[in-house]
């Protein structure tokens, strides 16, 4: 215990710092390339819209990482939800609600299986969720021929509609972020998540049913992945079995969560940092576009930035990291 005693760090919280840097980068690039239109309300809305899908997944990922687990199945689940939503709706607005409910049911089931494997089965979460992800991906690709369809026009309002120039999708992200932050900070469930992630044995001895908390966190992650899937279905009109995988939502959501200061061991971090991490990725996307950096170089830079961003706060860690 004496070894990891750390004085609280002075200075700005990770989230504020990271968000500031991201916005700074975006503004500087826009000015330097003369793309000042990107600094207009519409441009900023466009920048923020790049956050929505990854942001939703990453908030869910934050819950599981905080509780000391991890979820690699989100990418496959996103695809599954998007495909299911468009298949059930078949463009018919009357099927909107049933489709959404069915998708949420699927998320509940996947989250439950993940959580049960991890919490009750004692299977390493990386392996358990990698496994469920593969299962979902396989079933999805195999049955894709039969699962064609597209979502209702009305449903696409989520992705394309807005009020006073603010897209609904941003409002959705904001609302769900606030809700998630509220849950983590102000509710019993949130406190239990930090307890189980910070010290599982201690939490159990304090009478917390740790398995249930882990299971619930996995269900939350699945619901957020589902929300991302529904948003993508609305934005893309119909789901394909590859949108989750092509978006690399599994690894990217983990990366932004860790960049945002949530530690992989669990018990420390939060939604604000994660959103700042997502903002960093969105600014990089938008900035690299303005700079006209080619796709391969972009990948190199992104890799270097992921390492650097995590190293900035990890390097102060006392003790060992593997």
């Amino acid at each position: 215990m004496t070894t990891d005693r750390m004085k609280p760090k002075p200075g700005l919280p990770v989230a504020v710092l990271l968000a500031g840097l991201s916005i700074g980068f975006f503004v500087v690039v826009a000015l330097a390339t003369g793309e000042t239109a990107q600094l207009s309300g519409q441009g900023i809305a466009g920048l923020l819209q790049r956050m929505v899908a990854l942001g939703l997944v990453a908030i869910g990922q934050t819950f599981v990482i905080l509780v000391g687990s991890i979820d690699l199945s989100v990418a496959a689940l996103i695809s599954a939800v998007a495909v299911l939503a468009s298949h059930v709706m078949q463009g018919d607005p009357a099927m909107l609600l049933p489709a959404v409910l069915l998708c949420l049911g699927l998320c509940a089931a996947v989250g439950f299986v993940n959580g049960a494997l991890v919490a009750y089965g004692g299977i390493n979460p990386l392996i358990a969720t990698l496994g469920t992800g593969l299962v979902i991906q396989g079933v999805l690709a195999a049955s894709f021929g039969a699962l064609q369809g597209s979502v209702a026009r009305e449903f696409q309002i989520i992705a394309y509609g807005g009020v006073l120039g603010v897209p609904y999708s941003l409002l959705l992200l904001a609302a769900l972020s606030l809700a998630a932050a509220f849950v983590l900070d102000r509710t019993l469930f949130g406190a239990r998540i930090y307890a189980v992630g910070g010290n599982p044995d201690g939490a159990r001895l304090a009478g917390i049913r740790t398995e249930r908390v882990i299971l619930s966190a996995h269900m939350v992650a699945s619901f957020f992945a589902g929300a991302a899937g529904l948003y993508l279905a609305a934005r893309l009109q119909s789901g394909t079995p590859w949108i989750g995988r092509d978006g690399i939502y599994d690894l990217e959501s983990i990366a932004v969560t860790v960049i945002g200061g949530t530690i992989l061991a669990g018990g420390k971090g939060g939604v604000a940092g994660t959103l700042a991490g997502v903002l960093l990725f969105a600014s990089l996307d938008a900035g690299f576009n303005m700079l006209g950096i080619d796709a391969f170089l972009k990948q190199v830079l992104r890799g270097a930035i992921v390492i650097a961003a995590v190293a900035v706060h990890a390097v102060r860690t006392k003790g060992h990291v593997a």
Partner: protein
């Protein structure tokens, strides 16, 4: 053997979707493309990228713009060699028009629909673009974004299409059925009834690839040729070679290999070499490595193409539109030739890298061959 079938059916039956509907078998489209294959193209000879099939023209007077212009291109990505060659074509074509073109802004979506939608929105709201070229990652997904862009500026779409007629024109070669027809008919002509063909495919669910297979399959079925298997290889050479080896190891007799894309054709042929078997009849594509192998090993082969020169056409069309010239529309259908034994030598260029697409129409473009990775 019975156990095997039993196991396979049990698993397959658990998933309802399995054997159900194929949306990619449209007899009308099949017929149309078959006709287009034999049509004589209009336009300048020896410049297939500037030719078109059919008569429709789109009027573009309202888009006329004087002086230097900025073109914007939203690319789905450069995630395969075909797109790499294509993007080089597009950039090189742009260089030909330096006097007219102030800037070409290229934005890469890395194969993500969501990102491409944002990219298009940012290009349109950025206000720099005079015309927008889009190579959509997915047809349905990009439709709303393209529709929104059409309201602001002229849009040209190529390769995969969108579900809207708002773009000025949609550039594409004859299409997937055409590709399948060319290759399927060639193989059918070389095989006897009851012979076996192995189909090697990249991945399921992509319309431009599914149509290739459904066309070829129709032809094989008609000719009484037995499709012993259809394997997805993900464009991975190792997977391709392993898949073929598995069939060989199982003792299947393979008379022909049909491929929906030729980038792993030489890997498939190597499996036969390594097993000490004669080469099968094969349909590949217009990649250099396949053509060279074809020549050196005297294969019975055909190289249908989905020509990369359409990337040149996109720039030409965009500039024509801004000039107010009429362009073929609402679809600009490019001829889709196939490489046959007669013309094989013409398409082989030893300087070019193995996965260079010979029907790039780029031999005269600035920077050839280095820009495409070739040797001086």
């Amino acid at each position: 053997m019975t156990l095997r079938t039993l196991l396979a059916t049990t698993v397959a039956l658990t998933f309802v979707g399995q054997a159900l509907a194929q949306d990619f078998n449209d007899p009308a489209e099949f017929k149309k493309q078959r006709e287009q294959l034999s049509m004589t193209p209009q336009g300048p000879e020896d410049q297939p990228w500037a030719q078109h099939l059919g008569d429709g023209m789109a009027d573009t007077a309202k888009y006329k713009k004087e002086g230097q212009v900025t073109l914007c291109f939203s690319n789905a990505g450069v995630f395969n060699p075909w797109r790499v060659v294509g993007l080089n074509n597009l950039n090189a074509e742009a260089e030909l028009h330096k006097d007219r073109l102030k800037e070409l802004i290229v934005v890469d979506a890395e194969g993500k629909d969501d990102k491409q939608i944002s990219d298009i929105e940012a290009l349109v709201s950025g206000g720099k673009c005079d015309a927008l070229i889009v190579s959509p990652n997915t047809t349905a997904a990009l439709t709303p974004a393209v529709e929104a862009a059409c309201a602001k500026l002229p849009v040209i779409v190529f390769d995969r299409g969108v579900n809207t007629s708002c773009p000025v024109t949609y550039i594409h070669p004859v299409g997937g059925y055409g590709f399948g027809i060319t290759s399927g008919e060639f193989i059918a002509s070389k095989l006897k009834k009851g012979d076996n063909v192995l189909a090697l495919r990249i991945m399921p669910g992509v319309d431009v690839l599914e149509t290739r297979y459904s066309a070829a399959k129709n032809i094989f079925d008609e000719a009484g040729i037995n499709v012993v298997g259809s394997e997805f290889t993900g464009s991975d050479r190792a997977k391709t070679k392993s898949a073929v080896e598995d069939y060989i190891n199982r003792g299947e007799k393979i008379d022909a290999v049909w491929m929906d894309a030729g980038d792993t054709a030489t890997a498939a042929l190597e499996a036969f070499e390594d097993a000490g078997l004669p080469y099968p009849v094969i349909s590949g594509e217009d990649q250099q490595d396949f053509l060279r192998k074809w020549q050196s090993e005297k294969l019975t082969a055909i190289g249908p193409a989905y020509p990369t020169y359409q990337w040149r056409t996109a720039i030409i069309a965009a500039l024509d539109v801004l000039d107010g010239k009429q362009v073929p529309g609402p679809e600009w259908v490019l001829p889709q030739p196939a490489i046959t034994e007669d013309v094989l030598t013409k398409y082989i260029d030893e300087r070019m890298p193995p996965l260079h697409y010979s029907l790039c129409g780029c031999q005269e473009l600035p920077g050839y061959p280095e820009r495409w990775g070739g040797k001086e």
